[in-house]
C-alpha cells in the first residue's frame, strides 16, 4: 500500500438545476480510500450517494472541488473503473459470457480472445456461476444476474470498483451469500472499492471504512474504521463489537435524517 489514497474526494460540492429551482446535493464533501481499501457509504435516501459515484466514475464534473484516482484528477470517464448497480443491466440478447466480456470490447486490452474468455470463466467460477456461461440473463435468478454483473465490472481488472447498492433488490439470504462472495472475490482481485448501501450490516461486514453522509446536501458526517480481518464469516455480525458498531451507525443515520440531535456516542 502507498501513502497516497487511491480514491480521494476533495471538498466536492454540487448543485443540480431542476425545474423547481436549484437543488444542492453535495456540500463540501471529502473522503479518501486507501489502495486496496473497501469504503462503504451510507446515508439517508436521496442524499446524493449515487451522484457521488457518478463523480468518482467521471460521468459528471462537480461544481467545485475535485476527485482524484491514483493521484490523477478525474475529468472524464476512465477505463480503470468498474461499476455495478442495483439494476444488473445485463444485455438480454447476449449470453452471460458475452455480457461479462462487454467491457473488453471498449477498453483496450492485451489479452487474446482466448485469454479474455478464460478470465471471464475464471470470474464466473469465482462467484459460483460456472456452467451458466451460455445461458441468457432471463434464465438466471436475480442474485445470479447480480453475480454476473459483478464479473462484468471486474473483467478489465479495474483499479476502482464502484458498487451502487448492488445487493439492494435481493432477499436477505441471497444478499448474505453475495457478501461472502464479495470477500472471496476481494481476496483474489486487487481492487479498491467504493460501496453505496442502505444496509448497515452489509457495510460493517464488507468494508474497512464506513462513511455516514448527512442529509441533503450531503457532507461526510461520520467515519468509522472497521479493523480488517480478511475474509469474515457471518458470525462476525453477531459479536458484541459488531452490535456496538451497528448501534453507533444507526444513531448517526438518525442524526443524518434529522430525527435525533447530534451527540457524541461512546467512542469506538
Amino acid at each position: 500500500m502507498t501513502d497516497t489514497p487511491l480514491i480521494e474526494i476533495r471538498d466536492v460540492s454540487h448543485t443540480f438545476h431542476t425545474e423547481s429551482g436549484p437543488l444542492p446535493v453535495l456540500d463540501n464533501l471529502s473522503l479518501s480510500v486507501a489502495d486496496g481499501g473497501f469504503c462503504a457509504v451510507v446515508g439517508p435516501s436521496g442524499c446524493g450517494k449515487s451522484t457521488l459515484t457518478r463523480l468518482v466514475a467521471g460521468l459528471m464534473k462537480p461544481d467545485t472541488g475535485s476527485v482524484w484516482l491514483h493521484g490523477e484528477q478525474v475529468r472524464s470517464p476512465r477505463a480503470t473503473v468498474g461499476m455495478a448497480f442495483q439494476n444488473p443491466v445485463l444485455l438480454e440478447w447476449r449470453s452471460i459470457l458475452r455480457n461479462v466480456l462487454l467491457p473488453l470490447e471498449i477498453v483496450p486490452t492485451k489479452l487474446t480472445r482466448k485469454q479474455q474468455e478464460d478470465r471471464a470463466r475464471h470470474l464466473l467460477t469465482l462467484v459460483g456461476l460456472d456452467g451458466f456461461e451460455d445461458k441468457k440473463p432471463s434464465e438466471l435468478s436475480g442474485g445470479m444476474r447480480q453475480r454476473a454483473s459483478l464479473c462484468r465490472a471486474l473483467i478489465h481488472q479495474p483499479e476502482v470498483l464502484i458498487l451502487d447498492e448492488p445487493f439492494g433488490a435481493l432477499d436477505a439470504f441471497t444478499r448474505e451469500d453475495l457478501w461472502q462472495t464479495m470477500h472471496q472475490v476481494k481476496a483474489q482481485e486487487p481492487f479498491t472499492s467504493l460501496l453505496i448501501t442502505h444496509d448497515l450490516r452489509e457495510a460493517i461486514f464488507l468494508a474497512d471504512q464506513v462513511v455516514v453522509l448527512s442529509g441533503r446536501p450531503a457532507t461526510s458526517q461520520y467515519v468509522m474504521n472497521v479493523p480488517s480481518t480478511g475474509p469474515r464469516d457471518l458470525e462476525a455480525l453477531y459479536t458484541p463489537d459488531a452490535a456496538d458498531r451497528l448501534a453507533i451507525l444507526r444513531h448517526q443515520i438518525q442524526v443524518a435524517q434529522g430525527r435525533k440531535p447530534a451527540r457524541r456516542e461512546a467512542a469506538q
Partner: protein, 253 residues
C-alpha cells in the same frame, strides 16, 4: 406443434370460404352484389398474367416505400431519441403531419407528379408508414435506463458505440412492433395511390379497371390477392423479428 401452427389457420380459412359461399348462395345474391369464392377461380385464371405483373408492381413499390420509411424513420427517431430539444421541437410537427388523413394527400401527390406512377406510389407508401417507426425508435432510445448508458460511458465509450452495442439492439423489439404496423400502412398507401392515379399500375389499378368494367369477380379476386400479399409481407416482418429480436420473446416454460 406444426399441425397446430399450419393446420389450424388453414382450417380457419377453409371454413371462412365455405361460410362466404353459403352466405352468397343462401341470399341468392347476384355477382354484381357480392361475388362468391367459386367466382374467384375463373377471374384468377383469366387474368393470371395481369395478377402476376401487377402484384409484383404493388409489392416492390410497397417494399421500396417501406425501406425509405425505415431509413428516414430510424434517423428521425434517433435524432429525437438523443436530443431532448429536437424531440420537443419535432414532435408536434410530426403528430400534425400524421393526423392528416392520407386519403386527402393521395390526390394531391397524384396531381403534383402526374404520370410518375412509381415515384407517386413509393412516396405515399413512405409518407404513410414512417411515423410509427420514428416514434418507436425515439421512445426506445429515450426510455433507455441510464444505467445501461453508464455501464459503457464509465469506460469511456463514445455515444456511437453505446448506440450500436446497447441502444439499437435494445430498441429492436419496439422497432419490429412498429414495423408490423408500418408494413400494413405502406400497403394501404400503395393501393390508395394505384386506385386514384389515372392509368395507374399495380393491383389497385386492376381493381379500378374491374370497377369501370363492372367486373365484380375481378374486383373480389383483387381483394383476395391483396390479402395474400399483405399476409406475406406481414409474415416476412415476423420472420425478421424472430431472427433479430427473438431474444425478447420469453419462451413459455
Amino acid at each position: 406443434m406444426s399441425l397446430q401452427k399450419i393446420g389450424v389457420p388453414l382450417a380457419a380459412i377453409v371454413i371462412f370460404l365455405i361460410l362466404w359461399e353459403l352466405l352468397v348462395w343462401a341470399n341468392g345474391w347476384p355477382n354484381y352484389k357480392m361475388a362468391s369464392p367459386s367466382d374467384l377461380g375463373p377471374a384468377f385464371t383469366r387474368y393470371w398474367e395481369l395478377f402476376f405483373i401487377y402484384g409484383w408492381q404493388t409489392l416492390w413499390r410497397t417494399v421500396a416505400g417501406l425501406l425509405l420509411a425505415i431509413i428516414f424513420g430510424t434517423g428521425l427517431g434517433m435524432t429525437m431519441g438523443f436530443s431532448r430539444t429536437l424531440r420537443d421541437g419535432l414532435y408536434p410537427l410530426l403528430v400534425g403531419f400524421n393526423a392528416i388523413p392520407k386519403a386527402t394527400v393521395v390526390p394531391i401527390i397524384a396531381l403534383m407528379f402526374v404520370g410518375a406512377h412509381d415515384f407517386n406510389t413509393v412516396l405515399i407508401a413512405f409518407m404513410i408508414s414512417f411515423f410509427p417507426i420514428a416514434v418507436s425508435v425515439s421512445i426506445g432510445l429515450s426510455t433507455l435506463e441510464p444505467e445501461y448508458r453508464d455501464i459503457l460511458r464509465s469506460l469511456g465509450a463514445s455515444n456511437l458505440t453505446i448506440f450500436w452495442k446497447i441502444a439499437l439492439p435494445k430498441t429492436l423489439p419496439e422497432f419490429f412492433g412498429a414495423l408490423k404496423i408500418a408494413v400494413t400502412l405502406a400497403f394501404i398507401g400503395t393501393n390508395l395511390m394505384e386506385i386514384v392515379s389515372p392509368h395507374g399500375r399495380g393491383l389497385g389499378a386492376l381493381f379500378d379497371s374491374g370497377k369501370t368494367n363492372s367486373d365484380y369477380p375481378l374486383m373480389f379476386a383483387v381483394l383476395i390477392a391483396l390479402a395474400v400479399l399483405g399476409i406475406i409481407l406481414y409474415y416476412i416482418v415476423v420472420v425478421l423479428e424472430k431472427i433479430f429480436a427473438g431474444w425478447a420473446e420469453r419462451s413459455p416454460s
